[in-house]
């Protein structure tokens, strides 16, 4: 039979199959987390799972990290460009991470994609990405400094491990034992996805499952169209500024959004790409737009490719927001966060009650790397720290959470200190950091580390020079900062070192407020003051 045979599927079956896709991707994610060794996966859950149709359209992405969609939408087309479908067989597993040839958005996100066969016919793809906390301390002038570039190649050929390939990869990693085990966990996740999709095809028939997949994409498209139609037609513009430890002067980003009926066009402007780690490839921009528009149009749209159909996204090639080879891209999530703020800022003019004030606008990142005292083994520890979430039309913003493009967990202190020569001294909300307003912006976070052994440290942050804006008269949130104990050497481009006993304090931004502070409910204000969230007026 041909896989394109379309059968009509009743709405209940479509719903059941759609929910099965969702539960399969969730289950894949659990397997990945549980089988992995690195703190970034097993505790921080910096990984995502998805199912794709054979043309490379998302059937379902688990609700983990919106940013990872960028890696997913790139990988299948790049695989198909290099490898004819006719040569694919059960047990093939493709690995890739490159931002320009591998469909990725930065090198640490390594994608594993496995075609799913049912009775000898290829029906879909099981895909997952895990952020391998490795490739540390190498520089971000261009992508060749940022780690090993892997085009989409077979890691497994018909179920047989390509040991030579694996050895090349592992030799380029600082912590090969973790990489190997995390790759095995990624294999476990895809294996589950393959089994579950096959069972689904056994139960409902291949044609029904594939038709339901298409029906679900059409459904997502209809929901997105209805959501956009509910936004008044018009042209909405917004400009914001992006700063980073790697640059002295903030960069200007802007967007022009055209809403016309059921469709939306988003045109971005930004400076030429930089010799720094904060450039974004086009797929990173796309996944950011999909996320941001969905939050405004209708947060219940199923996470599949159909939702992209009514959207047109443009940005000049060679600029920060749509970079080309060989721009470095490791820190791309920070400008992605600013892009969400741009979209919300522009749409605030159309549907102010559906957007929120500027969030922390960054994913504050600390990457520690060093040699383990005693064994001399290399270690790398990556942590991303949340901040304030923007105030809403009728509610305060959330305090101390990951916003927009990521939603990773923190690393428990009791896991951190067992694994690395570091001690966490404080982890708390920052008083007075949320922007004042009728609704208060969310509070930023303070995380304070003490090094117990010499280590290198890379710090990424933003809103060091600008502040997250408020809406409708709401005030700005506090910006970000780093505070070092005495004697810590200078940090250049965010890179530096800590000696035993030295301390670094990372401060993440609060978020903007909503509405005039004078209209704040006196009871809410009194509670904020009693709880030390805000200083007495």
């Amino acid at each position: 039979m041909t896989i394109n045979a379309t059968v009509t599927v009743d709405p209940i079956t479509v719903e059941v199959i759609g929910s099965s896709f969702a539960s399969i991707t969730e289950e894949m994610g659990e397997a990945l987390v549980r089988a992995s060794y690195s703190t970034n996966i097993k505790e921080r859950r910096d990984c995502s799972t998805a199912l794709f149709d054979i043309e490379g359209n998302t059937l379902c992405q688990a609700e983990h990290i919106p940013m990872h969609l960028g890696s997913f939408i790139g990988i299948i087309p790049h695989i198909l460009k290099r490898h004819p479908v006719a040569e694919m067989k059960p047990g093939d597993v493709f690995i890739g991470n490159d931002a320009y040839e591998g469909g990725g958005t930065h090198l640490p996100d390594i994608v594993l994609a496995e075609p799913i066969f049912h009775d000898g016919v290829m029906v879909s793809w099981a895909v997952n990405t895990a952020h391998h906390a490795d490739f540390a301390d190498r520089g971000h002038a261009h992508i060749y400094q940022e780690g090993l570039r892997i085009p989409p190649i077979r890691l497994y050929d018909g179920g047989v491990l390509m040991k030579d390939v694996q050895e090349v990869i592992l030799l380029n990693c600082q912590v090969p034992r973790e990489r190997l085990s995390d790759l095995r966990a990624q294999m476990a996740a895809n294996r589950l996805g393959v089994e579950r999709v096959r069972a689904l095809c056994d139960k409902y028939g291949r044609a029904t499952v594939l038709s339901a997949g298409r029906a679900l994409q059409d459904y997502a498209e209809r929901k997105m169209r209805a959501g956009i139609a509910s936004i008044p037609d018009g042209i909405y513009r917004f400009t914001d500024y992006f700063d980073n430890p790697e640059i002295d002067e903030p960069l200007e980003f802007s967007v022009e959004i055209t809403v016309a009926g059921e469709e939306m066009k988003l045109a971005f402007e930004s400076p030429p790409q930089a010799r720094a780690g904060f450039n974004m490839v086009y797929t990173a921009l796309l996944s950011t737009v999909y996320y941001a528009v969905k939050t405004v149009a209708d947060p219940t749209i199923p996470p599949n490719a159909g939702l992209a159909r009514p959207l047109t996204v443009t940005a000049r090639e060679g600029t920060v927001l749509n970079c080309k080879h060989p721009a470095a891209v490791n820190g791309r999530i920070a400008p992605c966060q600013r892009v969400v703020d741009l979209i919300h800022g522009a749409l605030a003019q159309a549907v102010p009650e559906r957007v929120i004030a500027a969030c922390s606008g960054v994913v504050a990142t600390a990457t520690f790397a060093g040699e383990m005292p005693g064994s001399g083994q290399l270690w790398v520890y990556l942590e991303t720290i949340g901040g304030g979430s923007g105030a809403r039309a009728t509610k305060d913003g959330l305090d101390g959470v990951h916003v927009h493009m990521t939603n990773t967990s923190n690393l428990p202190v009791e896991a951190l200190e067992v694994e690395y020569p570091l001690t966490l001294l404080r982890y708390e909300l920052i008083d007075n950091s949320g922007g004042r307003g009728r609704q208060r912006g969310g509070m930023g976070l303070r995380r304070v580390y003490r090094a117990e052994a010499h280590c290198r440290l890379n710090l990424d942050n933003s809103r060091l020079k600008s502040r997250p804006w408020g809406i409708a008269g709401g005030e700005s949130g506090q910006g970000a900062a780093f505070v070092f104990s005495e004697g810590v050497g200078p940090f250049v481009n965010g890179d530096g070192a800590l000696e035993p006993g030295q301390i670094v304090e990372i401060i993440t931004p609060g978020a903007g407020g909503y509405g005039p502070f004078a209209e704040r409910d006196p009871e809410a204000l009194a509670r904020d003051i009693a709880e030390g969230r805000m200083a007495a007026v």
Partner: protein, 683 residues
């Protein structure tokens, strides 16, 4: 003579189930709940129930109880004002949690508010290292002044949680001692007592929930124990835990966090027994009470047990069944929302005043009123005649609602049923479709006072083909209590590499756990022949943070035990993740012993087949509204007590019994199976 009593105290009714050990008969009694102090209704129900069967309180050999006191306090934020003493610099941890936002795309969703407000969270100077050694000694004066400040602020409970308190409890123990010196009347709970496991946020959250609920449960249990004693009950009362097993009152009062799903978990146990009885292994339970409904899924007769779950937004490290609850029941109120749509719930008429038809002053129509108007429920009386019903008042109330939306009374009443059915269907999708199970492969077990009344429409909505209505659906949970074993879990966390050298330590740790279990068996007066101990070890590859639980073979710990564990782990890992990491060290994390005290359970006997003719059970007829048949239909009323094994009849029909009413829709066929469960099948 010996009697066994199971009591489930719901939001609206308190169900009493009495089992005669000698004859094997089950009797049922039901009294209105007393939500301000549920123990009043329990005592009343016990007294009336025992009197009715002619039992003396001293003849009660077992008393089991499932309660929603804890979960209600958590949902409604009616726990006590609670303080927290924690490591300096980490007081916001219970609010930050794992720094994740609650919904990825919906920016309007809020996090559950912290159970301890920020002004009542005190950091004190102290610090342990991960090996349990002390880096900074506990600032005892700091603890003392925090305790005084909390006392002055009027808290009733204090949670204590320090980093690494599970490795070395010395600082938590010292802090608890000091708090109790300053504030002896406080309920004090240290994190190592409730969840001696790593991951500080989840452990401290468990301690905070335990403290928040502590005084509420403690007072409740004390009042109940006193009332039962006054009645002359001599047996030790028991409470169900969230895992479906029961524990003694003393332990329940110390560890209320283990009982947050106490009420609904017994229903799952009952459904399990009904599944075994009827030979239907794949079931979805639908327990619809007055104020809320619980649904759970049993696959091959087993419900999923989690060692940790987030309940109403709060992580709790305690074993619990996978049960989903929605705030909709027979007492849920119908109203028109600001957008002009008909909404049902989550507000409820509760037990007092109850629905309009109780005639106790309520004027807002509830789901029950809709059923009274449609005459699916008896329009003149409920509870076998004990409770008179005012249909005229229900009609008036629904008429007012109908006026505002421009429909007639009957269409509005039927609309209320449609909305509540859609709400229930959504709840069932959460535990079935969303977990990858097709509800059409499952049978619906309907219990709770309102379950059988709504099951047919619900099953139709979900295209489920079969419904099981237990013999006594109104007391499903109470019945479950008579089928539950005593169960307690003991655990020790100590990291070690699995190998020959571990034999000595393992033997020592398990013998320590066995000693605790023996002590518990003795406390619970479990006869040696009824004791069962299951030992497991949680293993992982060195480097992983999630373990697999592997059975420890019975008998003495030897090198063969170690080998068996290694092999069991490799097999489980291969099965689950598809690989074995050859040559990598396996780490033992937690030693566990589960102690089970078998209790004699209600034994049900199959009845002889009396043939298909059910006409002997018809006690009358009334007009019942079935829109699919064009309106009021003259419908036979069957008496559940008179239905015999093998009886068969078609819908439309109504089956009445003391504590429940079953609706059989036109076209459905009802059959009575040998254990007198009613099976409804779709055409």
């Amino acid at each position: 003579m010996a009697w066994r009593i199971g009591i489930d105290s719901g939001g609206t009714f308190t169900d009493v189930c009495l089992f005669d050990d000698t004859t094997g008969d089950v009797s049922v009694w039901k009294v209105p709940s007393t939500p301000d102090d549920p123990s009043r209704a329990i005592a009343k129900g016990t007294q009336e129930g025992t009197q009715r069967v002619g039992a003396e309180p001293s003849e009660v050999a077992y008393f089991g109880h499932g309660t929603t006191v804890g979960t209600n306090a958590l949902i409604q934020h009616r726990g006590v004002k609670t303080g927290l003493i924690t490591t300096e610099g980490f007081r916001d941890l219970i609010e930050i949690g794992r720094q994740k936002r609650p919904d990825l795309y919906d920016l309007q969703v809020d996090k559950a508010p912290p159970l301890v407000t920020r002004d009542l969270r005190f950091g004190v100077s102290e610090r342990l290292r991960h090996d349990g050694s002390v880096e900074i000694a506990l600032d005892e004066d700091g603890v003392r002044s925090a305790a005084r400040a909390l006392k002055a602020a009027g808290v009733k409970a204090v949670a204590i949680g320090f980093l690494y308190g599970f490795v070395n409890p010395a600082h938590e123990q010292a802090a608890k001692r000091i708090v109790l010196e300053e504030f002896p009347e406080a309920f004090v709970c240290a994190s190592h007592e409730v969840a001696p496991e790593f991951r500080e946020y989840e452990r401290i959250s468990t301690a905070a929930v335990n403290s928040y609920l502590g005084p509420v449960m403690h007072n409740y249990i004390r009042r109940l124990a006193d009332r039962l004693k006054e009645l002359g009950l001599t047996t030790t009362p028991h409470l169900t835990q969230s895992n479906g097993g029961v524990i003694g009152f003393d332990m329940a009062a110390r560890l209320p966090v283990r009982t947050v799903l106490s009420g609904p978990s017994t229903g799952v146990v009952a459904a399990q027994a009904i599944g075994a009885m009827t030979g239907i292994a794949n079931l979805i339970t639908f327990d619809m009470g007055g104020t809320s409904s619980d649904v759970a899924l049993l696959r091959n007769g087993e419900a999923k047990l989690a060692s940790e779950a987030t309940v109403h937004g709060y992580p709790i490290k305690a074993p619990m069944l996978d049960i989903h609850t929605v705030g909709a029941g027979g007492g849920s109120l119908a109203a028109i929302d600001s957008g002009g749509l008909l909404k049902v719930g989550p507000r409820s008429a509760g037990a007092d005043p109850g629905p309009v038809c109780y005639g106790r002053g309520s004027t807002e129509p509830a789901v029950t009123d809709a059923n009274v108007v449609l005459q699916t429920l008896n329009p003149t009386h409920l509870l076998g005649g004990r409770m008179p019903i005012r249909q005229d008042l229900s009609k008036e109330a629904i008429g007012r609602l109908a006026g505002t939306i421009g429909l007639d009374v009957m269409a509005t009443a039927q609309g209320i049923i449609s909305v509540v059915t859609a709400n229930m269907a959504k709840a069932i999708r959460v535990i079935s479709v969303q977990r990858g199970h097709d509800p059409r492969d499952y049978a619906l077990v309907a219990f709770g006072g309102a379950g059988p009344l709504h099951a047919a429409r619900l099953a139709k909505e979900l295209e489920m083909k079969r419904i099981v209505v237990p013999r006594n659906p109104g007391i499903g949970c109470a019945l479950g209590l008579l089928l539950t074993d005593l169960r307690a879990n003991f655990a020790t966390t100590r990291l070690a590499t699995l190998g020959e050298g571990l034999v000595g330590d393992m033997a020592e740790i398990f013998s320590g756990l066995e000693e605790q279990a023996e002590h518990w068996f003795a406390e619970e007066k479990v006869a040696p022949a009824d004791r069962k101990l299951r030992r497991t070890a949680d293993l992982r590859y060195h480097g992983q943070n999630y373990e697999l639980s592997i059975d420890v073979p019975e008998g003495q710990i030897t090198s063969a035990t170690i080998a068996a564990l290694g092999q069991g782990f490799a097999e489980a890992h291969k099965r689950l993740y598809g690989f074995v990491a050859e040559g990598e060290a396996v780490q033992l994390v937690t030693y566990r012993a589960e102690a089970i005290g078998f209790v004699p359970k209600a034994q049900f006997r199959p009845q002889p087949d009396a043939g298909p003719d059910a006409s002997g059970a018809i006690t009358g007829r009334r007009e019942v509204w079935f829109p699919e048949a064009g309106g009021f239909v003259d419908t036979p009323i069957y008496d559940r007590e008179k239905l015999k094994c093998g009886n068969r009849f078609s819908g439309p029909a109504i089956v009445e019994q003391m504590d429940a009413t079953t609706v059989v829709l036109p076209g459905m066929v009802a059959t009575v199976e040998p254990y007198l469960n009613l099976i409804l099948e779709m055409p």
